[in-house]
Symmetry: C2
Subunit: 464 residues, 2 copies
């Protein structure tokens, strides 16, 4: 696909403005997980105001949509330039993951440049995604060029806590959200030099599992008789180690098309490079069948991981604890129905012999989503790959282990929509960990690619 000769690009002043915008944006601690000590609806509102104000100044018709009182508002914006042209819905989110301050090398809410990277919570996921959209639109504005396509924008504030109200938003605002293509600016790149489209996401179901033993902690000297909830919880967690061994778990996994497997197998990732990229300790074994490529495993290998686990307190008293609890997430492969998997997991746990016959509770919590596979050959996806090629020189398609329930929700509401995931992350981003960061080259190149994409998309004919 040929590149556009007169394409707009982000100039140095615009890029400097983009970084200042990101700095101001990161200083708002818009953590959306209500269990975090940083959670505050006022901060989410502040971040929403920040986005709305900038979209208004870019000439967009902009408003909030609140689905449920007391939750983070959606920012909806649009600029319809020509009804005969395609409409692109750009998506990003303004909320961020919680922080464990003592693990950060810098203040997580002060954007800090070190080398080629900007450190801060949300510096990449996904405030840089929002800033990329704002900057691309600003480049058109500065150039006094009308947008080449109709643009709708959806920026949410609940993505890091499961986008629980997205389906209700779709019901409420369906007319305002319909488009030919949905571009999700919340994805990652193979590396900082390769513009990347993600062609699949994992599904997810998350659970809270708790074992209760006592009314309150008691002196551990009574351990000859008094049961230990940690041991009982440990037994249940151990039974979840290999989902392939859980009866019924694999029943609705789809086979992946051989042509897609071939595409995935082109991945240059080796077990060693993947382990290094994720900081896996020396000698540890990666999960899944080592005969299969990394990317095939990301798409097709089911997995269960414990997200956090607590009983008592490190350095606390020498006591048997009253209860032990954990949160665990089940990642689903294409075809798997989250509701069915919920039942499979509940049935599996119910079939276990719980140590000391202790009572337990198992509840689905937070995020729940189906897996998704994109259409790499779709015209908008091809336009995005072309835009990425223009700015990066090198492109890739890769799957992600992350879940984006909004894609499957959107595709259910708008069966004709073409969904694309691109973004500003790279393997060193540490999106959900401490010391999250954004590569400044990636931010600039992805923004240029977005500008080029909008230009290329104008030529794609509307379906009859």
């Amino acid at each position: 696909m040929a590149s556009v000769s007169n394409a707009l690009r982000v100039n140095d002043q615009q890029f400097s403005d983009a970084i200042n915008t990101l700095k101001e944006f990161v200083s708002i601690p818009s953590v959306s997980n209500p269990n975090s000590e940083d959670y505050n609806l006022a901060h989410l509102q502040e971040a929403a105001d920040f986005v709305k104000d900038r979209l208004v100044s870019l000439g967009f018709e902009t408003r909030f949509s609140v689905v449920e009182e007391g939750t983070a508002p959606y920012v909806l914006a649009q600029k319809i330039v020509d009804a005969t042209k395609p409409t692109i819905l750009l998506y990003a989110h303004y909320d961020v993951q919680p922080v464990e301050r003592d693990k950060w090398n810098t203040d997580p809410f002060v954007l800090t440049l070190q080398g080629e990277r900007l450190y801060g919570r949300g510096a990449s996921d996904d405030k840089a995604g929002v800033v990329s959209i704002l900057t691309a639109l600003n480049v058109y504005k500065d150039a006094k060029e009308e947008l080449p396509v109709n643009v709708k924008i959806l920026v949410e504030g609940e993505e890091e806590y499961g986008s629980a109200n997205m389906r209700d938003l779709l019901v409420k605002e369906a007319a305002k959200l319909n488009a030919q293509a949905l571009v999700i600016l919340d994805g990652g790149n193979l590396d900082v030099a390769t513009g990347t489209v993600e062609n699949s996401t994992r599904g997810i179901v998350t659970f809270e599992l708790r074992v209760d033993a006592l009314e309150k902690p008691t002196h551990s000297g009574v351990g000859a008789l008094v049961p230990d909830p940690c041991q009982a919880l440990a037994g249940l967690i151990a039974s979840l180690g290999n989902p392939r061994e859980i009866p019924g778990f694999m029943d609705d996994c789809e086979e992946v098309d051989p042509s897609e497997v071939a595409l995935l197998d082109q991945s240059s990732q080796t077990e060693a490079s993947y382990a290094k990229e994720h900081g896996v300790k020396a000698g540890a074994i990666l999960r899944g069948n080592s005969e299969e490529s990394i990317y095939k495993r990301i798409v097709t290998e089911p997995s269960i991981s414990v997200i956090n686990m607590t009983a008592g307190k490190e350095g606390g008293g020498n006591s048997i604890q009253d209860y032990a609890r954990c949160t665990f997430g089940v990642r689903l492969t294409p075809g798997q129905d989250p509701a069915r998997i919920e039942e499979v997991i509940k049935k599996h746990i119910a079939s276990q012999e719980v140590m000391y016959n202790l009572p337990y509770t198992l509840e689905k919590t937070g995020l729940s989503a189906k897996a998704w596979k994109g259409n790499i050959n779709g015209p908008f996806t091809q336009a995005m790959l072309s835009g990425l090629k223009d700015s990066y020189g090198k492109i890739a398609v890769m799957p992600t282990g992350g879940a984006l329930p909004l894609i499957t929700d959107f595709e259910e509401f708008f069966p004709e929509i073409e969904s694309i995931i691109a973004g500003v992350e790279d393997p060193d981003t540490s999106a959900h960990s401490h010391n999250e960061s954004q590569d400044i080259g990636v931010l600039r190149k992805t923004t240029d690619a977005l500008i080029a994409f909008l230009d290329k998309a104008k030529a794609i004919p509307l379906k009859a």
Copy 2:
């Protein structure tokens, strides 16, 4: 044994003074666990000063002994009245367990009377033990009666963190600590109406177990490949559930003498009453052989309990954690050598297949002690039981699941010493949990028993 006709008793004014003393004492947050946020050597020193000042005012030759710089001082005191009379060493401790403030109904460092109980951290364990000693000595002073025996006093500040320097103190101060009897005022009573001597303690070895998976937490979407340290830790913990199944674990357990079993079997505790006393959830099964009495199990049933367990943070990000850790305590039965058990546990963990071949560390930490059995027929123990009978009317002998390494240490240094555990706790004390409390009737009756004990002990002949 006949009761003493003209025995001194605690009068109302003296008891009121005792409670005020306890109130002031509890207000010093003398937490000895250095991993607790409340730990502060200055508070331990303040509590030590508190004890020293009062012993000085009671006419005792009193001083601090510091074994290792930067650790809580020992308070040593003595009053030698007659070299031909027995010498009794009274022991208690001024340090307390950490607190989890959000679980307390009252301020843990403000002594609060509710009904018949005084609530506060250390209100019972073991500041009430110290106050009981001070009050008993004060009753003699108020009556202007010379003490009937020589009294030595040892009050430490590291009991709740394993008394790590006690052996070195014994080396340093052996001449000042030798006595015919060691009375440990840090025990419990069968119930608030029954004066009780504890005739055995459990041994203990405590471990810190940690599994490392990653350099830092990472997005849980990579779970198809990236190993989970929580699952690996859970597998190891699950392997520790029944110590009887750990190779070699039972090899050095002693058989308990049938006469002692008969004594223990007189316990009126049933599984149901014990479960209720410890707040065990309905339907849960107590550990050990249900054919055996509660007290026989406390003495002879080995057990492993997880004291705390952490990975990530409840409400934290949706990430696979970099590591998971726990502290677990192994309670030993008579005959078991802590050093041998340490090796047995290390060998057992080393023999496990660690999930994903993750690296782990296993370290002995904190408390380590042998089990102990007392001599119920010893003359000083009989004198204590007689004193308890005088004040309570009803007496009992019972084993404890707690560990008191100082007893076995003392008996190693002074093979002729007769060790006795009595005390101010009762089943509702919640010594190592939140809402710790002291029954005021027990405090008064135990103090009266201590006064009577000192009087009765004067008649016990010194060994040749």
